[in-house]
Symmetry: C2
Subunit: 688 residues, 2 copies
């Protein structure tokens, strides 16, 4: 049996798996009554669950639990039909409700047993982590009667880690997977990451960046034995390993002269390499591919399309049950800013929608939540749900590329929930994004959600300690998109900081208010970007205005915004179903927060809020800083009530946030004052 | 005797030392008559001159010249009193006119002798290169009667080469001096650079970047034996080697805890290290120092000033005759853009002027030509000449950081001549910058001009072949600032491309028109910058507008420019002597080309040209592109009349220039149209 004895204990390292010891008292006594473990199976995943249970119980009770044969006063974990305690407690009616990854947790109070039962060992580990969550948050376990199944089948994490050790858009140190163009030799930290992911309910990981350079291309060849070791680590936590591959691999590392997907040598090369992968990783998940996107190679080079390109890889993976995840982040990244016809927002839909029905059954298209690129505010991608005959996975970004880079507080769960709850009308009422992502709307075989990780080798994983809530919350939310932001926040706070009511109250308040605060002092009314080129940190209003990336705001002396209407603009609005189309198309009905995404309006245009655009800009930017300042005082109020080092970690970040929010406020306000010449009605200080 | 047999012959490598073979004919016969060499001295520099003479004559005549004892039909080179032919031909009256580095070239037609005579061997090499220039351009040598002395004593080149092989602001490849944190082992290319510099009349080189990192700090310790080898190469070409040093060296490599210039251990450390340097390089030039500038360490850390800092180093160098060159590029590089009081333009004067008289005799202050940073257009630095009791050297930049990065054609000689001819009035009429730089106005012992090199390991040295004219021309101009731009251009063209009249005409025209063309499509009316941050290539109007570098234009809906007047602005104008002060202070009299440097004006302000500011911007930007397009056709007209590879090299650059000029035009025009809302009177296409 594995042990978790080599876990780091540095500040924040334990994240939500810290398992604070309970002081003897009510719950302590209650838990102690159940604190032996009954397990019969030797399966590696179940043994991992046992290790976790031992580790957690020892932390909470201060005593290492025994594994016993007795059938009372135990926590019994196992699959149905294999554990007498589980089988005694769990009724067939319950079992019938449990899917492949689901579980039940039921208390037999009379015998002081809790049964964690599942169809598969994977379900057992999720159920075990669920039980540990209950214990760690001091819940009453005398009456448990829980049935859980994940709503999304694919629950993926994408690492944007490069083998040189850097992390693209990484804000928490270097890669924990790679260093100096090798896979790291010490796997402890990777194991610890695996348990964090599993505890949050995730079941798949792509360990390398979607931008695959030459060295990472060799993960499926030269580095394969080392990759297999990583797969084994994740396997124990019920997580499948995937790899990002380089579409040009047949040329770059295969010695072929082409990567044409219809070329028989190319097809054979991929079949051979894929067979090699499965020979050492039998449960390998598949390939993630960024092709013909931002200068990456792809089928376009050979006059083939995305269906040709992905189907070729799918064919190689099919015999082994693997899948191709094909990203839809495809647009013209060499746009001329003078060109007002091309609209990057249109690109994914225009590229992929016509291909619906042409993809193989084991191809899945990965679609970013918005049409641009993980902006603080943009509409939901109209491609989501628009291809009924094609598998889709929704892509989020936990890494805070455009949302403050883990220096600003931005709790992403409410942001994602807005997207998940969006009604697309793609198949009438109820076609919400969450039901599309889960595959329910179109009945997809493969479906789910992926997200770019926010971790690195910083001791606390995420740089900003409170950004751990986004990793944890991501897993919890995609397990069950109906969980509320409040619920997830509270759960994470308790697990991380304990059950102090004031701490919970203050941090929950901070988390929940954070997205609106950040949005208010950055780019206004859905216009997006206005960030420093390349780094994407901090304000630069014209930073992308004359660039080739298709990200413009068109501010002039008179007004601002992008006319994406069908009537007079790029026609992007027409990619939405009615009545979304009409709502976005109409200046009168377009939601304020997306106004500048869809319309070019004068600064004097009056919003639905009753304010002019220019006054809205000034007001939100002044208010945003004021609210950021309140975050400081809220956090300061917790000093002395929690671990000092953790408190300091966050305090430093929030102070930086306030200073930086002022920079945003002043640059945005000055920019628009200089451009419009319109004074602030409240006569606050705007630098001229 | 050295040979030059291992010279590369790749395209452009020979630069202006190609020595095309003359076809037999008049000049051939004339030169052949003189084509033996009479030399008596074994001095290394004179032997270098002999090698160069042999190499050049062999190139021109196709026959290797003999060294002979005879005293007729010879070119005699040597120092006065040591060569019977020289002594026979050169009169004492002539000798009296020759300074330390000067020379005479006199023909004794009767005996078919040309004498190149000098006081020092250094003068001999300059005279020899002068004679070779005459031969290479097909001049009549039957009646030579030349007396030359350099106007500037210090004629320096600054390499901004880093030991990792990169060149800061290098646009022609990697360093020829350093690679992989070592000094290169193959010295051929360095020798070839030395001959180029000597042939252009230069006498000093700083081989490493003013930004000295830890590894380059060791050039005076660990790498000293290798540095000595480089010094020996340059010594043969009469060039003194200098090093940039790190002010924090006593800490970083000396193991001390301070670099305080008044600390006795620090002083001793520098004395010891300097003695070590002179032990192996007896003619070492001295130290170049960038201190307390752009985050470099300096005396400010210890509450000392620039005089304390430089005098300490000067003391260490004094016993050996070395000097400290102390850069005045000191300003607040962490300025808040909201702060309208601080003016970077004021900084050098404000920092240094009060210290006049406090510097030791072997300290020399190096002052950039303008108050900002090598902009296409800025006023002349008011610090030049403002410190009568302090040695100064004027700093130019041959590297085209802000002048097109050797992708755009920009002949710098006219640009520099405007500066040199500027009347500062610092000591009444005639206080031109060239007379200040030479030391004539204030009678400085040490004086001269330095410039940042534009070369790298590109085969043709400068990337853009025509940028060789700037390196050559720099040397020629600072030898004699009264040479015209036309003269230097013609000389360089003949040496590089031969004597074809049409080639000379076309290229001269291109060179002479190039500065105005570049200026016309970039930042208007002296406002400066508007370039992409960091790279400084290409337009980004607001790129530095909200940055910390003190480089702002303050464009708003109403107008643009920086008010630097005494009456209402930063008071920078008051750093100028009358009547320059009054001229710049006055909106009516300020020259158009500097208007926005000194004044903030409405777009509708009428220039002395009769145009409004906004219309001037539009007009110059449209015209600039048209003229850049004419460069293409001018160059195209030379196809077939010169080496094809050289022609192609330049053609590619000029085509890129036109495309990029359009980007400048459109971005600048659109920016100002969007900001002002004022249409182009000529209704040309401005993207909205």
């Amino acid at each position: 049996m594995g042990t978790l004895s080599n876990l780091h204990t540095g500040s924040g390292y334990q994240a939500w798996l810290g398992y604070r010891q309970l002081l003897p008292g009510d719950r302590y006594d209650q838990y102690a009554d159940y604190s032996r473990i009954h397990v019969t199976e030797k399966d590696a995943v179940i043994q991992t669950a046992v290790s976790e249970l031992i580790y957690g119980l020892e932390g909470i009770l201060g005593v290492k639990p025994e594994i016993v044969a007795q059938e009372k006063h135990v926590i019994a974990i196992g699959t149905f039909g294999n554990n007498p305690v589980v089988d005694r407690i769990v009724t067939p009616e319950k079992i019938a409700r449990i899917g492949q990854e689901g579980y039940v947790i039921i208390t037999d109070k009379e015998n002081a047993c809790v049964a964690v039962g599942a169809t598969s060992s994977n379900g057992v580990i999720y159920g075990t982590f669920h039980l540990l969550r209950l214990l760690s948050t001091g819940s009453d376990i005398n009456e448990l009667d829980i049935v859980e199944n994940p709503i999304n089948r694919l629950r993926m994490i994408n690492q944007w880690d490069n083998m040189d050790g850097s992390v693209e858009r990484g804000y928490a140190g270097e890669s924990i997977f790679f260093k100096d163009n090798l896979i790291v030799e010490d796997h402890d930290r990777i194991r610890d990451y695996a348990r964090m992911l599993a505890s949050a309910g995730l079941n798949g990981i792509v360990i390398n960046n979607v931008n695959v350079h030459k060295v990472e291309s060799k993960l499926i060849t030269e580095f394969l034995p080392e990759v297999a070791k990583l797969a084994a680590i994740f396997r124990k936590y019920a997580i499948k390993l995937f790899l990002s591959v380089n579409y040009a691999s047949p040329i770059e590392i295969g010695g072929l002269t082409t990567a044409d997907p219809l070329d028989s040598d190319v097809r054979q090369w991929w079949r051979d390499k894929t067979a090699d992968v499965y020979a050492v990783i039998p449960d390998f998940g598949g390939y993630l591919v960024k092709a013909d996107s931002e200068n990456r190679p792809g089928p376009f080079t050979y006059d083939r399309d995305h269906a040709d390109g992905s189907n070729m890889l799918a064919e190689a993976l099919e015999p082994f049950g693997g899948m191709v995840i094909w990203r839809c982040f495809v647009y013209n990244c060499k746009q001329d800013w003078r060109d007002r016809k091309t609209d990057r927002a249109r690109a994914a839909y225009d590229h992929f929608k016509p291909l619906d029905g042409r993809f193989k059954d084991n191809v899945i298209l990965q679609i970013k939540n918005g049409p641009m690129d993980f902006q603080v505010r943009e509409p939901v991608s109209p491609l989501l749900g628009a291809m009924p005959s094609t598998n889709q996975v929704l892509e989020f970004q936990i890494a805070q590329e455009y949302t403050g880079q883990q220096r600003h507080l931005f709790y992403l769960i409410p942001h994602w929930k807005e997207i998940l709850d969006f009604e697309s009308y793609t198949k009438g009422n109820g076609s919400t994004i969450k039901r599309i992502a889960s595959g329910e709307v179109h009945g997809n075989r493969l479906a789910g959600i992926a997200a770019v990780s926010n971790i690195g080798n910083d001791m606390n994983w995420t740089g900003h300690l409170l950004a751990q809530a986004n990793l944890y919350g991501y897993g919890r939310l995609i397990w069950n998109p109906d969980l509320t932001s409040e619920h997830i926040a509270e759960e994470w706070i308790k697990l991380t900081f304990g059950n102090n009511a004031n701490i919970i109250h203050v941090i929950k308040n901070m988390l929940l208010s954070s997205p609106a605060i950040y949005e208010s002092y950055t780019a206004p009314l859905g216009v997006g970007f206005m960030v420093t080129p390349h780094t994407h940190y901090g304000p630069d209003v014209d930073g992308y205005e004359y660039a080739k990336w298709g990200t413009y705001h068109y501010a002039d002396w008179h007004g601002i915004g992008v006319d994406r209407t069908l009537a007079t603009g790029t026609g992007y609005t027409s990619q939405y179903n009615s009545p979304n189309f009409e709502r976005y198309e109409s200046l009168a009905h377009c939601p304020d927060e997306l106004l500048l995404f869809f319309h070019h309006v004068p600064y004097t245009h009056v919003l639905q809020s009753g304010k002019t655009v220019i006054q809205h800009i000034y007001d939100t930017h002044f208010e945003g800083v004021e609210k950021a300042e309140q975050l400081v005082s809220q956090w300061d109020s917790l000093a002395g009530t929690m671990d000092e080092v953790l408190h300091k970690q966050v305090a430093v970040r929030i102070e930086e946030q306030v200073e930086h929010a002022k920079e945003w406020r002043d640059r945005i306000n000055t920019y628009f004052y200089r451009k419009s010449g319109i004074a602030d009605k409240s006569e606050r200080l705007i630098y001229s």
